[in-house]
């Protein structure tokens, strides 16, 4: 089931995130304290409100972007693929710690060792039926191939991403079979591509702001559809669109600080759904 999760892996943010984290474009300085608060709130929702088992890795000051765990691993069903991030400075995020954490959850861990491959988890959209992999500055064809090799049951289609950092910088799953997609030209174009490549028909939810189109969907027993989305203070128009989703339990989350370093809602956790006793 799309969005089903029992566990989540997160990582604390290092202070170096303020000065050294990679960013697409210059912006305001990151207020570390505020960033930390926001992150704690986020983790709190996962852990307490949604009842997930949250595995929190410690921060590493030498890895300013390490809070964005999504990029380090792609988990689908019982398999976890440790990526080879496109940014050389981030390669070390895929550490023993991460591997051990995933293995501790009984996942089959696959490592991407090919030196020609790069893949950021932020470029991987799993719809529940297939994968779309953005070919971006961070992810290349080879990385996508290895992902396809790892998750053999599923079709893996590539989507060119030009104007954004990641594929999921402007889209995400907002429900079973429902893709939230930004309004920008690039986002719409990517959606077209995905629709063309897919044998399935997806519903789409067009969100005025690209950044807000990255939301975090979960399917929690007894709670049903849960959607973490960007707060109205940040993106009022987009929030209104989310509010139309009547079947969802909506949880607005502010992500003001980390967004300055290209962080989005899905970036900060890896969701794991342990189906069987494997």
């Amino acid at each position: 089931r799309q969005g089903a999760a029992h566990h989540a892996v997160v990582r604390a943010l290092p202070e170096s995130v303020c000065q050294q984290a990679l960013r697409v474009e210059k912006g305001g300085a990151v207020d570390f304290a505020r960033a930390e608060r926001e992150h704690q709130l986020y983790v709190g929702v996962l852990r307490h409100k949604l009842g997930l088992q949250v595995l929190e890795l410690p921060a590493d000051e030498s890895l300013p972007d390490c809070v964005f765990v999504e990029d380090a691993a792609v988990v689908c069903e019982e398999t976890a693929l440790l990526t080879r991030p496109g940014a050389p400075s981030r390669r070390k995020e895929v550490t023993e710690a991460m591997k051990i954490a995933l293995e501790s959850l009984n996942l089959n861990v696959v490592e991407m060792t090919d030196e020609n491959a790069t893949l950021d988890g932020g470029d991987v959209l799993f719809t529940g039926r297939e994968f779309f992999v953005g070919l971006s500055k961070r992810t290349n064809q080879r990385g996508a191939e290895i992902l396809a090799d790892t998750f053999k049951d599923y079709a893996v289609s590539t989507v060119p991403v030009h104007d954004s950092l990641h594929l999921k910088s402007f889209c995400s799953m907002a429900g079973p079979n429902l893709i939230a997609i930004g309004s920008s030209e690039g986002a719409q174009k990517a959606l077209k591509t995905m629709q063309q490549m897919s044998d399935h028909r997806y519903d789409k939810l067009t969100i005025p702001d690209d950044a807000a189109a990255n939301c975090l969907y979960l399917n929690i027993p007894n709670k049903g559809h849960v959607l973490l989305h960007r707060a109205p203070e940040e993106y009022p128009e987009s929030a209104k669109v989310f509010e139309k989703l009547k079947d969802h339990m909506l949880i607005p989350i502010a992500n003001i600080e980390l967004q300055k370093v290209d962080g989005a809602l899905t970036c900060c956790c890896i969701l794991i759904n342990k189906t069987s006793e494997l």
């Binding site: 039926r129 064809q141 191939e145 396809a148 590539t158 490549m197 028909r201």
Partner: protein, 937 residues
């Protein structure tokens, strides 16, 4: 050598069985004459044969005795089981062979008869001789005929090989084939003795079909048998009714798999001996739960297991384990800790690389399936398998325009483009306007994207011409099967003889589902035993000998980049093991057959489909196959109207009758399936196909691609609307045949045509009488066209308003007798256009403007190097009478050396042949030439 004789022999034999003594006489005669024949023919070579036969000819045993001696020497020493491993009934006592009602499956029991037993078999042997003498050609009798007759057939085949000299090539082929296999195949050894038996001209060929459960089915087929015959037999053997999802594959070279075309002779398709096929799923049903019968699902499961083990269908560890566990449940039932010890699992193969870990997982999951019946387990298996991304995807190696290696995958939904494992593009069928190939290039023409204005054509480079054609065919078939209600009509006749033509002629998924709904039989019993792993069962099986050659062949030819060889090997070995176990899947075919027959007609005819298309729904596709460029601009059009009663023999007398003669000869040769099929399989450089939907109701509803708001998902509900129409007597068919030419030659021809004076005057008259009418009609025809063509295609060439410099119209009214077509000679200055119309007087309102109610319309265009044939078929109801009108336009473009009259005559002839029940009512010849130089007056 007629079938009647054959059946007579059959009857006699039956009688003999009942009353061997009374029947004795005949057999004696038979053997006698046989003997005579033999001596005549075999004397030089077969000295040895006569020596073992010192006794009387009347003793059938003599022949029997000869058998072994004639064999390759050793064969007689071979124990029977070695000679004939494939036979299911090896262990059966001889007597049972006599009774065999199910004798059809085995064929070569007689081979196993040892000399000592022969005495008991007098009657049979005699019958055999008799049969051999008379004729054993009849394929159809096969199932009826006794096992004993089979060897005779084989014998005759052999004789054919040895003695018939008319077909040296084939002989060679057969012999080389034999040689290859001789060392390993005892069955071939048996053939060696054959030359001594009755010299028969009946050519039968042994076919072997690897079945999905790893067993081998073999039978003898008449050499000229069509693919359908073999396929039907296999399905009957399998007790399979929903057979349209399946097909027979054969391999060319090493890795090129080809589907056996049911509508064509086998020998035109498969070049090598032995004839070796594999039974295979051809169209993977997207939703297997919609299959009607469990047995069908079972075969689909077998196929998928094979696909998985071979690596063709990749899946993850967990999926391997899950599917494996359902396999265990289906084949072994509930997990039983006592019975299923730690080893039981390794008998099975679930994955290309099976690990202990995986096996453990399989066992673990197997335990959780307690209570599932085999059928339920199969269903679960399929539910999981169908979700795999490569389920039902037929992959073809290719290169893109930049020379990058890619894979093209054909599936139910369209065409997928892969680079390595990644899907880099996808073209759903509704997006594709045209599929074509030209030499080794494969092209798709796709609809303009949302914001684009122009269609684009995308080309791919296939390894070779044959690969391109194979891919093209697979596309045509998949599109037709999954997207259309019914196959295209051209199959019914030979509309497109002038161009290359390939069409899927079987039933579509919609049709097969409809047919399946009518299946009314108790669920057939079948035994599941297939996924056992090979290795164990191999040991000590002398059985292997024959199959090893098969193995070699198959494994050498196994398709797919990965591990396929192993998979096929595995399969074959499975087969052996099964034999050893003595648990073949044998189903009583009798009941089935009947059912099958009942079902067929009810469900819109046999799945060959080609012949019965007319009564069912009309088709929705426009198909274009073209040989090449057709520069329009100059054209010649012939419109033929056909009316039921008016049997116009329209012959074109191009001034020289012999020409016509020639024509018809050529015609007949080109229409004979042999030449056409061979040309198709070999020579076609190009083919085109347009999944172009003219009448929307006929197309299974398109999934909407792209721009509409995704929230409004329409789903895939198929709107199945079928306009079934019964054509009443007196229906009309109109064929307009267009005919165009470029050069001045056309003028010359035209002039030649206009030969005889009487004709001239006649035409003058006709002209006066009918000219206006003609013109009017011509206009109306064009009007028809436009209103008929729900989608107006650019390919439809309207000839009504040419840039006329000079127009001539000739109308001949003569419905019932051979009409000499002639044209008035025109003092041509620079002829641009010429129109000649022949019309039957009975032509009533058929061309009239009152359209009636349009039931259906279709346009088929075919192109060849110099001709474009547009066939327009409309069905209308007017005043309660339904009318079918076929208009055929042939545009001949090109060089001066085209014989237009010949082409025209052929077109007319074809039109008549294709629709013998209709008549030609109108022929319009319209010629346009470029500013011609000079013309003879």
């Amino acid at each position: 050598m007629t079938t009647e004789v054959g059946s007579e022999a059959e009857v006699k034999k039956e009688a003999e069985k009942l009353e061997p003594d009374t029947a004795k006489e005949k057999p004696e005669e038979a053997s006698e004459s046989l003997e005579n024949q033999k001596t005549e023919e075999t004397e030089e070579t077969q000295d040895s044969s006569s020596s073992p036969v010192p006794t009387s000819q009347s003793s059938p045993t003599s022949r029997k005795e000869r058998d072994p001696s004639e064999g390759k020497g050793i064969s007689r020493f071979l124990p029977p089981w070695l000679k004939k491993q494939k036979s299911y009934s090896i262990a059966e006592p001889k007597d049972e062979a006599k009774k065999k009602a199910e004798g059809d499956e085995h064929v070569e029991e007689c081979e196993r008869q040892l000399p000592e037993e022969v005495a008991e078999l007098k009657g049979e042997a005699a019958a055999e001789n008799h049969q051999t003498k008379t004729d054993d050609k009849e394929e159809e009798k096969h199932s009826v005929s006794s096992a004993e007759t089979q060897p005779a057939k084989e014998d005759s085949k052999e004789i054919e090989v040895e003695k018939v000299t008319e077909e040296p090539e084939e002989k060679l082929e057969e012999e080389t084939g034999k040689r290859e296999t001789k060392e390993v195949q005892t069955t071939e050894i048996k053939m060696e003795k054959a030359p001594q038996k009755a010299p028969k001209k009946i050519k039968t060929v042994q076919c072997k079909v690897m079945l999905l459960d790893g067993t081998e089915y073999s039978c003898d087929l008449e050499k000229r048998a069509k693919g359908q015959v073999l396929f039907d037999r296999v399905c009957e053997h399998l007790n399979l009714l929903e057979k349209d999802y399946f097909g027979l594959l054969f391999y060319e070279n090493s890795d090129q798999k080809n589907w056996l075309d049911s509508s064509k002779e086998i020998k035109r398709q498969i070049r090598n001996f032995p004839w070796l096929f594999t039974f295979h799923v051809k169209f993977y049903p997207p939703d297997p739960s919609q299959l009607t019968e469990d047995i069908t699902r079972y075969f689909l499961c077998l196929q998928l297991r094979q696909d998985i083990v071979s690596g063709r269908l990749p899946c993850s560890f967990v999926t391997h384990a899950l599917l494996g566990s359902y396999t265990l449940q289906a084949e072994l039932g509930d997990y039983d800790p006592e019975e299923h010890n730690s080893d039981y699992i390794s008998e099975f193969q679930f994955a290309p690389n099976q690990t202990k870990e995986m096996e453990d997982k399989v066992v673990e999951l197997h335990k959780t399936h307690r209570g599932l019946t085999p059928a339920q387990a199969d269903s679960q298996f399929l539910e999981n398998a169908k979700r795999l991304s490569m389920y039902g995807v037929d992959l073809h190696h290719a290169k893109d325009s930049e020379g990058v290696d890619i894979m093209l995958g054909v599936c139910a939904n369209g065409l997928l483009i892969y680079k390595d494992r990644l899907r880099i593009n996808r073209f759903a069928w509704p997006k594709i306007l045209k599929i074509s190939y030209k030499r080794s290039n494969f092209y798709i023409k796709v609809r303009p994207a949302e914001l684009e204005q122009f269609e684009s054509t995308i080309g791919f480079k296939l390894p070779n011409h044959r690969a391109a054609k194979r891919l093209w065919k697979v596309c045509v078939e998949h599109h037709t099967f999954f997207r259309l209600i019914s196959p295209e009509q051209p199959a019914k006749g030979k509309f497109l003889t002038l161009g290359s033509k390939f069409r899927y002629s079987g039933r579509t998924q919609a049709q097969t589902r409809q047919a399946s709904n009518l299946i009314d039989r108790p669920a057939p019993y079948f035994e599941r035993t297939s996924s056992k792993r090979i290795s164990r069962s191999l040991d000590g099986a002398p059985v292997g000998i024959t199959d090893q050659s098969l193995l070699r062949d198959l494994s050498a030819t196994a398709a797919g980049p990965t591990g396929d060889e192993a998979a096929v090997l595995a399969k074959l070995k499975n087969g052996e093991s099964r034999e050893e176990d003595g648990s073949p899947i044998k189903s009583p075919p009798l009941e089935l057959t009947q059912d099958g027959k009942k079902v067929g007609p009810r469900a819109e005819g046999p799945c060959s489909g080609a012949r019965d298309a007319d009564k069912s729904s009309h088709e929705t596709l426009s198909v274009v196959e073209e040989k090449k460029r057709a520069e329009v601009g100059i054209e010649e059009t012939v419109v033929i109207n056909e009316i039921n009663e008016g049997k116009i023999q329209v012959a074109i007398d191009g001034g020289e009758p012999c020409k016509v003669e020639q024509l018809s000869k050529k015609d007949s040769s080109s229409t004979s399936s042999e030449s056409s099929s061979s040309s198709e399989s070999e020579d076609e450089e190009v083919g085109e196909y347009q999944p172009y939907h003219r009448v929307t109701e006929d197309v299974i509803r398109e999934e909407k691609e792209g721009n509409e708001d995704a929230k409004e998902v329409e789903g895939y509900t198929a709107k199945v609307v079928q306009c079934v129409e019964s054509v009443i007597e007196g229906s009309k068919e109109k064929v307009s045949i267009g005919h165009a030419q470029v050069a001045e030659e056309s003028l010359v021809e035209g002039n030649a045509v206009s030969g005889t004076p009487e004709e001239k005057s006649f035409t003058e008259e006709a002209k006066q009488d009918l000219r206006e009418e003609r013109e009017e009609e011509q206009l109306k025809i064009n009007g028809d066209l436009s209103h008929i063509g729900i989608d107006v295609k650019p390919q439809i060439i309207c000839c009504s308003e040419p840039p006329v410099v000079k127009t001539e119209m000739v109308t001949i009214s003569d419905a019932t007798q051979r009409t000499e077509i002639s044209t008035k000679e025109v003092p041509i200055v620079q002829t641009e256009t010429k129109t000649i119309t022949y019309e039957s007087p009975q032509l009533d309102g058929s061309a009239g403007g009152d359209a009636g109610v349009l039931l259906s319309a279709q346009t088929i265009t075919s192109e060849s190097v110099s001709t474009t044939t547009t066939t327009h078929i409309t069905k209308t109801v007017k005043g309660g009478v339904s009318e079918t009108r076929i208009e055929k336009r042939i545009v001949i473009t090109g060089d001066a050396d085209i014989d237009h009259d010949q082409a025209l005559a052929q077109a007319i002839k074809e039109a008549k042949e294709q629709h013998p029940d209709m008549s030609v009512t109108r022929v319009v010849v319209h010629k346009e030439t470029e500013l011609a130089e000079e013309d003879e007056g």
